[in-house]
């Protein structure tokens, strides 16, 4: 099944063209391209490449007359396979003897590819190229038919030497493009030139032979206008690119030898890992230590990170546990007689009956995240066992954590090591996590992670902000500065609500940030046997915007319509 274009791109721009006294020297080129765009088969995040299938270039002059159209088409059988055919068609409004200036086809090209090596790129394909085009011939001139040296003058203009025969001067045939771009055409109807369509005026062959390590390409060019002149180019060699073979490496899992609580966090000692294989000839075991270790951690239990023990005074209450704000609240629910009633039954208040299945237990999932990569200390020493130390600072007193490690050589990763569970009893409490690093140009980057929020999905959810602080504070004070900046950015994530209120009179004295007191509007709702009373909540609101419109009435006074106030919830902190 051949590919057909399903995505079209059009471009148009002005181009400078040759100026004369009548033109302004500007033309226009329009390019319409058609692509085949495969569907989203590559999975998430994989953008598949589009394949160009057809292009049409149209050149118009300053009078919007089309003077040239090129159309190219590529044919493919399968996506990302080699092309099977290429076609090109040129239409031009150039002057041709006997045809004048009209837009017509002047050249046609066809390339047929020999796709016997379907896995190689298009450069290595055998192909045959045919060009059919108009050819301009100069005819012999009979000097006796004209007078006064007119013919001689014309011949001089056309740079043609007169000949005595009646036949065409074959050797003077020129491709239309050569004739037009040179000065070979005499723009006169009585001139001694004719034009003729010649099929396959140029034929080219690319012959490709394949050998185990290379392709050999011969190119043969034939031109019908110059039958004696057959060009043979070659041989041209194209080396094949080598393949990289990789055998599966028997990677061995490392071992977490020791995990202990220190003042800075949990300290892990990792040993072993790498590759071990036997050289049967020398009867010797060869051991290659790993380059690096990856360390993973899962949180099993952790006391909530709170204010107690916050030495640096960085603690700020988590912004999100406060629920989403709302405007209307239910004040009372009664039945029709007025006696207070329970609220409508919710899922939690449905009593269980005998025979009900046991509610399923919530699955406890231990999810590991990679917390760091550490180099092997002993990587230089051949046959030495790998060894590394890692300190995980992002832990909480009395929290329980589980760790494992992987050893790495190149792209190979070992299976998981033994899992180690530790209850951290080390020392200080941390609420915010700050990381410092120095860039190559001397800049310091401070990295702050938001506190864990039980209300949102973990890991990569959310946005990253970058700010630049042009400060000259000492290194010790930077930590304080970061402690000031980061919580302010995190606090902007508070859930909020926006109210808009239509007011019947124009209000003066409105300012952003003004405190607004809403009336408590009471109303009742009836549902089934219940009456529910509701009211607007007496929250603190502030003015965040307004829109007023005054119109003059017929009596010359002012009317107000559509006064709208926008309110937002005012922070209680």
């Amino acid at each position: 099944m051949a590919l057909t274009p399903n995505e079209f791109v059009s471009t148009s721009f002005d181009i400078p063209i040759e100026t004369d006294e009548l033109t302004e020297g500007m033309g226009n080129m329009a390019i319409d391209a058609g692509y085949y765009k495969p569907g989203p088969s590559g999975g998430e995040g994989k953008e598949e490449e589009s394949v160009l299938l057809e292009v049409k270039r149209t050149i118009t002059n300053y009078r919007s007359t089309v003077i040239r159209v090129d159309r190219e088409e590529w044919f493919y059988d399968v996506y990302k396979g080699p092309p099977t055919e290429f076609k090109r068609e040129v239409r031009s409004a150039c002057y041709l003897p006997g045809m004048g200036r009209s837009l017509r086809k002047v050249e046609e090209e066809q390339v047929v590819f020999w796709t016997f090596t379907p896995l190689t790129s298009a450069d290595n394909l055998g192909r045959t190229r045919f060009v059919s085009a108009f050819v301009v011939y100069d005819l012999p001139v009979d000097p006796t038919k004209t007078t006064d040296g007119e013919t001689t003058q014309k011949l001089d203009d056309a740079q043609i030497k007169p000949s005595g025969t009646d036949d065409r001067i074959i050797s003077s045939g020129k491709l239309w493009s050569e004739a037009v771009s040179g000065s070979g055409i005499v723009e006169d109807e009585s001139s001694n030139q004719i034009v003729k369509w010649v099929n396959n005026v140029i034929v080219e062959h690319d012959l490709v032979e394949e050998e185990p390590d290379k392709w050999i390409i011969w190119t043969i060019k034939k031109n019908a206008l110059r039958p004696q002149d057959v060009q043979v180019d070659g041989p041209k060699f194209i080396k094949k690119t080598g393949f990289r073979y990789q055998f599966p490496v028997p990677m061995q899992a490392p071992e977490i030898k020791k995990a202990s609580s220190t003042a800075n966090g949990v300290r892990l000692t990792i040993v072993g890992g790498g590759v071990e294989f036997e050289n049967k000839w020398l009867r010797e075991k060869i051991k290659i230590p790993p380059d690096k270790y990856n360390i993973y951690r899962a949180l099993i239990a952790e006391p909530p990170r709170d204010e107690s023990g916050d030495k640096e005074d960085w603690w700020d209450p988590d912004p999100s546990p406060e629920g989403r704000p709302h405007v209307i609240g239910t004040t009372a629910t009664t039945d029709q007689g007025g006696t207070p009633s329970d609220p409508l039954p919710g899922p939690s208040s449905i009593p269980s009956e005998p025979g009900d299945p046991e509610p399923p237990e919530e699955p406890t999932e231990v999810s590991f995240t990679m917390i760091g990569t550490v180099d092997n200390d002993n990587a230089r020493r051949w046959r030495d066992e790998g060894h590394a130390e890692f300190v995980d600072g992002d832990v909480q007193n009395n929290g329980e954590y589980e760790y494992y490690a992987e050893s790495i050589i190149g792209d190979n990763t070992s299976p998981e090591s033994n899992h180690v569970t530790i209850i951290y009893t080390g020392g200080d409490h941390r609420t915010h996590r700050l990381g410092f690093r120095t860039n190559d140009n001397g800049d310091i980057e401070i990295d702050a992670d938001a506190p864990n929020d039980p209300g949102v999905p973990p890991d990569d959810y959310g946005e990253v902000i970058e700010v630049e602080i042009p400060t000259s504070e000492e290194d010790d004070d930077l930590e304080d500065l970061a402690g000031e900046v980061a919580p302010r950015q995190f606090a902007a994530t508070e859930p909020d609500i926006s109210i808009s209120i239509d007011v019947l009179i124009p209000l003066l004295g409105l300012e952003y940030g003004q405190a607004v007191i809403l009336p408590e509007v009471l109303w009742e709702t009836y549902g089934n046997q219940l009456i529910m009373s509701q009211q607007t909540l007496p929250e603190n609101w502030m003015l965040s915007g307004f829109n007023m419109r005054f119109e003059r009435d017929n009596a010359g006074g002012w009317n107000s319509q559509n006064t709208t106030l926008s309110l937002r919830k005012r922070s209680t902190t």
């Binding site: 405007v327 140009n441 001397g442 310091i444 980057e445 401070i446 990295d447 938001a450 949102v456 946005e463 990253v464 902000i465 970058e466 700010v467 602080i469 042009p470 400060t471 000259s472 504070e473 000031e484 900046v485 980061a486 302010r488 950015q489 606090a491 902007a492 508070e494 859930p495 909020d496 609500i497 926006s498 109210i499 808009s500 007011v503 019947l504 009179i505 124009p506 209000l507 003066l508 300012e511 952003y512 940030g513 003004q514 007191i517 809403l518 009336p519 509007v521 502030m542 965040s544 915007g545 307004f546 829109n547 007023m548 005054f550 009435d553 006074g557 107000s560 106030l565 937002r568 922070s571």
Partner: protein, 259 residues
Amino acid sequence: MSQLDFVCTVLMDGRDVSPWVKSVEISTEDKIDRKFTIVFSSWDQFSEANRWDIYGSYNPSQPNQEILIRNGRIPIDRWRSVSVGVGAVPQVIGTGYDYVWLAKRKAPRKTIVMMPDRRDYQANLKKAVNDFQERNDGRPIGRYQVWPSMTNLHKALTRLAHAGGIHISIQIPNYDLAPYVVDPKFSYWAAIEELASPFAPNIYYVRQNNTLVIADRQSEVMHSSNKLTLSPKIVAGLSAVPIYTRRIRRVIMRIPAWR
């Protein structure tokens, strides 16, 4: 509520043009700008240089009770909207902004380089300029003027605001400033926003005293104007929507190497 004695007065360069005004609409575009749209019932010659003041009052004997738009400008690309109907007086609609809109666009004539007073003044100045060019792909900063003694953030913000023609109230912490080059493309206002943005996601403007408030989102301080109590009689309707707020996971603070 048409019987309320509300009066609106429109002044063009101090000249009362309210008899030709058909309607006035005033709205806030954001926390800072205030936008106005005037519909005139006849053609008048006005240009970008005209100054517009709009007053509102509940008392017809004192029409200048409160100023709604001070020193407004109608940008030249917005005002010229004319509509003509059969048998109707032509309408001219002009849309403009009050004084702050203009102040927000005030830009320094030369690039500002803020220098704290320290040793190696000239060397540091040269380094600051070179650093800025490197960071901006070699874009030259052009002619520049040095603001000396810009030792800390509050000083820099205050001076930028005064140069832009507004007062400033700073409610964020202070820090020592390194040599700092204001982007040549920035207005004074943009420079203030750039410097204050790490601390203050919330910047607003108090029109009463022409003051820009750089406030903390955490402790949002209501400025001291009258409380507005809406009685149920004047409220025609109420609707509420939750606001999408960004969930920020991580903040990366970059500090240039100046220590």
